[in-house]
């Protein structure tokens, strides 16, 4: 269960698994029952997807009292982003992202973000 890049990419290659990660990203620390709600598949199918995510260390389980909670583990994603995005690239990426956000806000609400 040590971090294995192939396992990570394989786990991310499935839209359902990405959806599970999205849901944990929005609301971390969910039980299996909570995660199954709103997923159009059997509990067994969700369990299988979670097992793959856990094997890739993208999801970790944590006992809180008697409840087994699932958490999104950001560490493997951080490793991937760090691999190809070093110092200078990260800064220019941050600037680009800020510009994109600014332009998208302006498109939706021009008067609010206008500087005049």
């Amino acid at each position: 269960m040590v971090s294995d890049p192939d396992a990570v990419f394989q786990a991310l290659a499935d839209p359902t698994r990405r959806q599970l990660l999205d849901r944990l990203n929005d609301d971390d620390g969910q039980t299996l029952t909570e995660l199954c709600e709103g997923m159009e598949m059997t509990r067994q199918a969700v369990t299988k997807h979670l097992a793959l995510l856990e094997a890739a260390n993208l999801v970790v389980t944590y006992w809180h009292g008697r409840e087994k909670l699932h958490y999104l583990n950001a560490v493997p994603i951080h490793d991937i982003s760090r691999r190809w995005i070093g110092g200078l690239r990260r800064r220019s990426l941050a600037a680009l992202t800020a510009l994109k956000r600014h332009l998208e806000e302006e498109a939706v609400c021009p008067s609010r973000s206008s500087s005049t």
Binding site: V60, Y71, H78
Partner: protein, 154 residues
């Protein structure tokens, strides 16, 4: 006690004792975090986060100390970017589990009171950076590049 806000897990090819040392040694914490974590590592003891120029930017208590397996600390930031700021107490539990050739480090952070979204986002992105630096330091022994800013001082 509320459930953790987030949990991070990393596997480090180093003995549990070395991982414990990385968490509790003042000089190693300076390399990892950008500030020294100074204190006595026993249950009930107090510690401080001290910058290179001697400013105390945070402080806290050791809630649980069971070397080299488990360390729980609670802290509050005193100073962020030179400004006085009282943030809610956060507590973090570090669980160190030897698994043959590797050690699994699990860090969970919990806030007793609701936290500002921006603070939470910063906190959530800090831990992967820190545990990855710890992994690099313990596995390669090479000195680490400095952080662009001390963690959590944004």
């Amino acid at each position: 006690m509320p459930k953790p806000q987030f949990v991070h897990v990393i596997y480090i090819a180093a003995p549990a004792e070395r991982v414990w040392e990385a968490l509790t040694d003042a000089e190693l914490s300076r390399q990892l975090w950008g500030y020294r974590i100074e204190g006595d590592w026993r249950t009930g003891a107090h510690f401080r986060h001290v910058t290179a120029d001697g400013k105390v930017i945070g402080e806290g208590d050791v809630l649980e100390c069971d070397p080299p397996r488990r360390l729980t600390i609670a802290w509050r930031w005193a100073l962020i970017n030179g400004q006085r700021w009282t943030t809610p107490v956060a507590s973090a539990t570090c669980e160190i589990e030897p698994l043959g050739e590797v050690t699994r480090l699990t860090v969970s952070e919990t806030h007793d009171e609701p936290v500002d979204e921006n603070y939470l986002e910063g906190a959530r992105s800090d831990w992967p950076v820190i545990v990855s630096r710890m992994k690099t330091l313990l596995e390669t022994g090479r000195p680490l590049p400095p952080l662009t800013a001390p963690a959590r001082s944004k």
